[in-house]
């Protein structure tokens, strides 16, 4: 009965996501209709000839499609990571970046763009990924040596976040010229403008793997509601579950941040919004959170690239402009409850 409701909710979400992608792909300065898009896509899938001229076909297939899909993957992944972090750390203010992953990524990216590390061979994304992994590794080591309780993990994350943010600012202020600074800033705020098919495929693959890991641990996450000791009493191998889930979400966050920068607030607010629909059970919460994150970011990115046409707003700015009021509402609700 409950399973059927969840299946209904999930398939409904997938339909909404598919429609959102189909519609938003048609939005933009070049006047391309839904029918044209579908013709282009079906042609690509080998179902008939494309009637579109190569230039317009390129806009659909090489610019808008990967960008829209990357928005969906990032939205789903960030929201999923946020939900898992909040449950695991028992902290409603946790988000995917709380373990310093995004700060480490920004330092890595800046080291590549500004300092030229890697000698042009290492891409921005690769640099960001290395920085993210280094930062997360530092957090894990620090937290383990401090006793590995959840508050130590959070404090270690805060320390890493501060350290790497300071490093990033230092590098940018001392070494970058105005043009580079602008590019770095755009990336730091989170932007899907550079999306290509390689990013989409890589991020989607990591998302699929991490989603599978998280869905295999939904009752484990439920068991953390009353803390680690309570989870252990319910048969959870706490240290193993914590390390596995933190590593999986950090890996996904690192992949997403490397492709699109630190898009804020999706991972903080969407899980709270989803929880009001699904309740606390992670079997329902995780799929719904991921789907709503995907739909949300697809639309927000469409807003970001069209409102100030031809200028583009970094999508991270738009999510925060929407996210902050939502965040305040969450805080307000929490205040009334206690």
């Amino acid at each position: 009965m409950r399973g059927a409701r969840l299946a209904l909710l999930a398939s409904g979400g997938l339909v909404v996501l598919a429609v959102s992608v189909a519609v938003t792909v048609t939005v933009g300065p070049a006047d391309i209709g839904t029918a044209d898009v579908w013709r282009s896509v079906s042609a690509r899938l080998g179902l008939g000839d494309s009637p579109l001229p190569p230039l317009r076909e390129g806009i659909v297939w090489n610019l808008r499609m990967p960008r829209t899909l990357l928005a969906a993957v990032c939205g789903a992944g960030l929201a999923l990571c946020g939900a898992v972090m909040q449950s695991l750390l028992r902290n409603p203010l946790a988000d995917p970046f709380v373990l310093g992953v995004s700060s480490g990524a920004s330092t890595g990216a800046v080291a590549v763009i500004v300092l030229g590390w890697g000698g042009g061979v290492v891409s921005l994304s690769a640099g960001a990924f290395v920085g993210a992994v280094l930062s997360f590794g530092m957090v894990v080591l620090l937290a383990q040596s401090l006793g590995a309780s959840m508050d130590r993990v959070v404090l270690s994350g805060v320390a890493a976040m501060q350290l790497f943010s300071a490093l990033t600012s230092f590098i940018v202020l001392t070494s970058a010229d105005a043009e580079t600074t602008r590019g770095v800033l755009f990336w730091l705020l989170g932007s899907l403008s550079g999306a290509g098919w390689a990013d989409v495929v890589l991020c989607a693959a990591v998302l699929a793997g991490v989603l599978a890991v998280c869905l295999a641990h939904t009752t484990t996450l439920d068991a953390f509601a009353f803390g680690e000791e309570a989870a252990a009493n319910l048969g959870v191998r706490v240290a193993r579950a914590r390390l596995l889930l933190l590593t999986a979400t950090a890996l996904l966050t690192a992949a997403l941040v490397s492709a699109a920068g630190a898009i804020g607030f999706v991972g903080l607010v969407l899980p709270h919004a989803a929880r009001t629909v699904t309740g606390s059970s992670h079997t329902r919460l995780l799929p719904v959170t991921a789907l709503s994150g995907a739909v949300f970011l697809v639309w927000v990115d469409t807003v970001a690239r069209t409102v100030l046409e031809p200028q583009e707003i970094p999508v991270g700015v738009v999510t925060s402009l929407i996210g902050v009021p939502a965040f305040v509402a969450v805080l307000y609700r929490a205040r009334r409850k206690t």
Partner: protein, 310 residues
């Protein structure tokens, strides 16, 4: 008494409750089955370089209620955590059915041993039913819906603890006594054979203290319960284990253990013990009463009260 479940007559004889492990109609298992239960043998535990528990042995007989007594910091909670298997002993061994807990999976232990911890709290918005359903975690696989057996165990646990009417209410709206009952219901949903409770009557008024212990001791499980209140321990426990500085200083029935001399030795207070209606009754005495205990003038803190110079 507003206990929805009338106190079971003869609390040693377990009622055939839904979810009970024992065969329906079977008598309460006696201590016969060798190793069919949870034992701690000469367990010690170091925490932060300090010996918190030092060679303590507990061997509850199936179905009985064992009370752990002792002042704050005497090792009661640590002993319960060792029994639950969430903490490993530094030396000694805890066995379940004769098998060391360290060689049993956490999940398998959680299907047999349920714990009710002190003062649990959550930020998550959960209904009472959600909280009780957590007890099914060791019995379920992720990504599978609750089975009929799961739902049955949750319903039975709610019924048993008188929370059926509150099942769909938010856990946060419950009173302290109801929260404790919800935790006990969660533990019962685990369908354990052994139940461990850490000072479950803390912060409850006297009526709820009695209701709760009546409920717990009426359950068809082996119970180990840490208690502060010596009278409650005398009323509800079959056997007592008195701890002091991590060592067991006395073990036996309430009337054997609760002697004025031992109470004074362990707690540093004077008490009178009189035989009561089936269990001993303890009355504590004021320090000034009876043979006067006088402070030497030099022992008094200088700032105490008067401020007058000697």
């Amino acid at each position: 008494m507003n206990d929805p479940q009338p106190a079971v007559a003869g609390r040693r004889a377990p009622a055939a409750a839904p979810g009970a492990r024992w065969p329906a109609g079977g008598a309460a298992p006696q201590a016969s089955a060798a190793g069919g239960d949870l034992h701690a043998e000469r367990v010690s535990r170091l925490i932060g370089g300090r010996l918190v528990l030092d060679g303590v042995t507990v061997t509850p007989r199936p179905g009985e209620t064992v009370g752990l007594l002792g002042p704050n910091g005497s090792g009661k909670s640590t002993l319960l955590r060792l029994l639950a298997g969430v903490l490993a002993p530094s030396s000694g061994v805890v066995t379940l059915d004769g098998r060391p807990l360290g060689r049993t999976t956490r999940r398998a232990v959680a299907r047999r041993v349920a714990s009710v911890e002190q003062n649990v709290h959550t930020q998550t918005e959960l209904t009472v039913r959600d909280v009780v359903a957590l007890g099914r975690v060791p019995h379920r696989r992720s990504w599978t819906p609750m089975s009929a057996a799961d739902l049955g165990a949750v319903t039975a646990a709610l019924e048993r603890t008188g929370l059926t009417g509150r099942a769909d209410q938010s856990w946060h709206t419950l009173s302290g006594g109801e929260r404790q009952r919800a935790q006990i219901a969660r533990a019962l949903a685990q369908e354990p054979s052994e139940l461990l409770l850490d000072e479950p009557t803390n912060h409850l008024d006297i009526q709820h203290q009695l209701d709760l212990l009546e409920l717990v001791t009426g359950l068809p499980v082996t119970t180990v319960i840490a208690l502060h209140d010596l009278n409650l321990a005398a009323m509800y426990c079959d056997r007592l284990l008195m701890l002091r500085d991590g060592r067991a200083v006395a073990e036996g029935t309430p009337s054997e253990v609760l002697a004025p001399s031992l109470i004074e030795e362990v707690y540093g207070v004077r008490a009178e013990v009189t035989p009561g209606p089936g269990y001993p009754v303890i009355r504590f005495l004021r320090r000034g009463a009876g043979p006067p205990v006088r402070y030497a003038a030099s022992d008094r803190p200088a700032e105490a009260g008067t401020g007058a110079a000697d």
